[in-house]
Symmetry: C2
Subunit: 323 residues, 2 copies
C-alpha cells in the first residue's frame, strides 16, 4: 500500500498575505514573511489504493463535504503529477485545540502535500513542494521550509514559493497566542482574499509591501526585536485596514482584541519587549524574545476575555515521520 | 464698545476631513460633508477695546496659554482685515458637557469668526466667513452654513470654503452620540492631521474621496438612508484605517467603540435604520431617521461602557444673537 505520514506546523505571518493576483493558483498580490510555530502541529497520513472515493478524517471525525472536496481537488493535482487514478484516505490530527480560532489550513495542506507526494513515490524539491502546498492554501507554502520563511510572490505557478531566511535556532522568539472567549465564526480567508480588491486601500498596501518586507527581513537577520515589533504591528494594522474597508467590511477584531493591542503597546513602552499581530480572526499573537514569554503570558491571562494562552517557539520544516 | 455675540453648532462629518494640503491655511487634502448639530452649541461674545492683552474665558474659566495663543493668532487675522490693533476679551460657553469628548473647536471658531468680525463692523459673506473660520480650525468652515454642508476643498485660501447642500428641514436625521466612560485624552486633531501623510494608505483614501462625496451628496439630496448609512461607516473606517497605520499609529477607537460599531451593523441588518461614524475620539455617533432616535438611544444605553447618549438633529448656520 502507498502510505506516508507527515507533520507540519502552522505559521504566523509577520508580513501578511491578503489578496490574490490569481485566486485559482493562489499567486499572491504581495510577498510575505512568517515564523513556523514549533509547538503546534498537524499530522497527516495519506494512503492510496484501498478506497472507492477519497475520504478525509479530521481529528477522528469524517470531514464535511466542502472540506473533502477541497482536499480531493488537491489530491487530483498529485494524481496528475504521479500519473495515477487511485483514491486516497486522509487522516489528519491537530495537536492544538480545534475551534480555538487557530487557522490550521496552512499546516494541513503542507502536511498533506508532503505525505501524499511521498505516498505515491514522488520526491519533490522543497521549492516544488512549497509550490504544490500553495495551491491548497496560499500560506501553506510557508509551512514547507523551516524557521523564518519568506514567500517570494512571483507572477506564475513556477516562481511563487517560499524559502527559509533563517533556521528556528537563529532567534529564540515565542508567539504567545491569546485565545479569546468568542464564538463568532469569522469569514474564511479564501472568501476574504476575494474581497481584498474591493477596498480602495488594497493597492496602496500592496505597493508599500517591499518596504515592510525589507524591514522585517533585516530585523530577523539582525535579531532586532524593537524594529520587528513596530513593523509587525504596522503590517497587521494595514491588513486589517484593508479588511475593514472592503465591501462588505470584514471586522476580525473583537473588542478584547483591541484591548490587548493597546495593552501590548503600553507594555512595550514600559520596557517589556513584545509586539502584536492578528491573522483573519480575533486571537492576538504576541511575539516576544522567549525569555519574556512567561511575563507576557501572565499579563495576557489577566485580561478579562482571554480564555487561554498558547505558546509556540520557532518551528522546523514540514517533514515525514515513521509510523 | 465694539461687541457682538454669536452662536454656532458643532458638526458631524459624514465624509471626513483628515490631512492638510497646507497646514497653515488648513487647506484640506480632500473635500468633506457634514451635518450641523442643532441641539449642541457654542455661544461666544467678543469685545474689543477694553483690554491690554487678549483674554479668553472658556465656560467661566480663563483658558490655558496654548488655547489663548491659538485664539489670539486668529484674532490677528480679523484685526488685519479691520485695520485695528485693539485687544479683545472672548467669553465662550458650551451648552454640552465639556470633557465628554465632543470636539468643540469647529463650533468655537465658527462662533468666534462671526462674533469677532461683527464686533469690529465687518460684514463678511458666508463664503468669506467660512474661509476665515477655516483658518482657526479646518472643520469650523463647515459650521458657518446651515444644515447639510459640503466643504469644497479648493487649492488656495480663496477657494477652500463650505456651502450648504440642504437646509436642516430637508431631512429629519438625528445623531445619537454614545458618550463613553473613558478618560484617555486622545491626540488632538491638529497634531493628528500632521501624521496623515505618514500612512501608506492616505493617498489612496484621498484619491477615492470624490466617489464617496458623490454617494453621500446624492443620499442626502434623495433622503436615501440605507446608502447614507453604508457610506458614512465606510468613510469612517477609511479615516481610522489611515490613523491606525500612521507613524506613530493613532487608535481613537476604544474596545467599547468597536462593540457599538458591530452592534449598529447588527441592528441595521435586523431592520433598524442606523449607521455609525467616529471622529478623532472614541465616542460613536449613530445617525438615524429621527423617528428611530428613541429606539437607537435605548439600545445604546444598554451597552456597558456607554455613559450617556446625547441627541442632536440637523442644525442651522452660525448666527449673531442679541444680548
Amino acid at each position: 500500500m502507498k502510505q506516508a505520514t507527515a507533520i507540519a506546523h502552522p505559521n504566523i505571518a509577520f508580513i501578511k498575505y491578503w489578496g490574490n493576483r490569481d485566486p485559482n493558483l493562489r499567486i499572491p498580490e504581495n510577498g510575505s514573511i512568517s515564523m513556523n510555530l514549533a509547538d503546534l502541529s498537524v499530522k497527516t497520513t495519506v494512503s492510496f489504493g484501498n478506497e472507492e472515493e477519497d475520504c478525509l478524517i479530521l481529528n477522528g471525525t469524517p470531514a464535511d463535504a466542502s472540506a473533502l472536496q477541497r482536499v480531493s481537488r488537491f489530491l487530483d493535482l498529485i494524481r496528475g503529477l504521479a500519473g495515477i487514478h487511485e483514491r486516497a484516505r486522509v487522516i489528519s490530527e491537530n495537536d492544538f485545540p480545534t475551534g480555538a480560532g487557530i487557522a490550521s489550513s496552512a499546516a494541513a495542506f503542507a502536511a498533506l502535500a508532503l505525505a501524499a507526494t511521498a505516498a505515491v513515490g514522488l520526491h519533490l524539491s522543497e521549492k516544488d513542494l512549497s509550490r504544490l502546498a500553495r495551491k491548497g492554501s496560499g500560506s501553506a507554502c510557508r509551512s514547507i521550509p523551516g524557521g523564518y520563511v519568506e514567500w517570494l510572490p512571483g507572477e506564475t505557478d513556477e516562481d511563487s514559493y517560499a524559502v527559509s531566511i533563517a533556521p528556528p535556532e537563529h532567534w529564540a522568539l515565542t508567539d504567545c497566542i491569546a485565545i479569546l472567549s468568542t464564538h463568532h465564526k469569522p469569514v474564511g480567508s479564501t472568501e476574504g482574499h476575494a474581497l481584498a480588491s474591493t477596498s480602495p486601500l488594497q493597492s496602496a498596501r500592496v505597493a508599500d509591501t517591499p518596504r515592510r518586507l525589507n524591514v522585517v527581513r533585516r530585523a530577523i537577520l539582525e535579531r532586532d526585536f524593537p524594529a520587528l515589533a513596530e513593523m509587525i504591528e504596522h503590517d497587521s494594522n494595514l491588513m486589517h485596514a484593508v479588511m475593514m474597508t472592503s465591501t462588505p467590511p470584514l471586522f476580525y477584531w473583537e473588542p478584547v482584541s483591541l484591548t490587548i493591542m493597546k495593552a501590548v503597546r503600553e507594555w512595550r513602552a514600559s520596557g517589556l519587549p513584545c509586539g502584536y499581530t492578528l491573522d483573519a480572526g480575533p486571537n492576538v499573537h504576541v511575539l516576544c524574545p522567549s525569555e519574556f514569554a512567561g511575563e507576557v503570558t501572565n499579563h495576557l491571562k489577566a485580561i478579562p476575555g482571554v480564555q487561554t494562552v498558547l505558546l509556540a517557539s520557532a518551528g522546523g520544516p514540514a517533514r515525514l515521520v515513521k509510523e
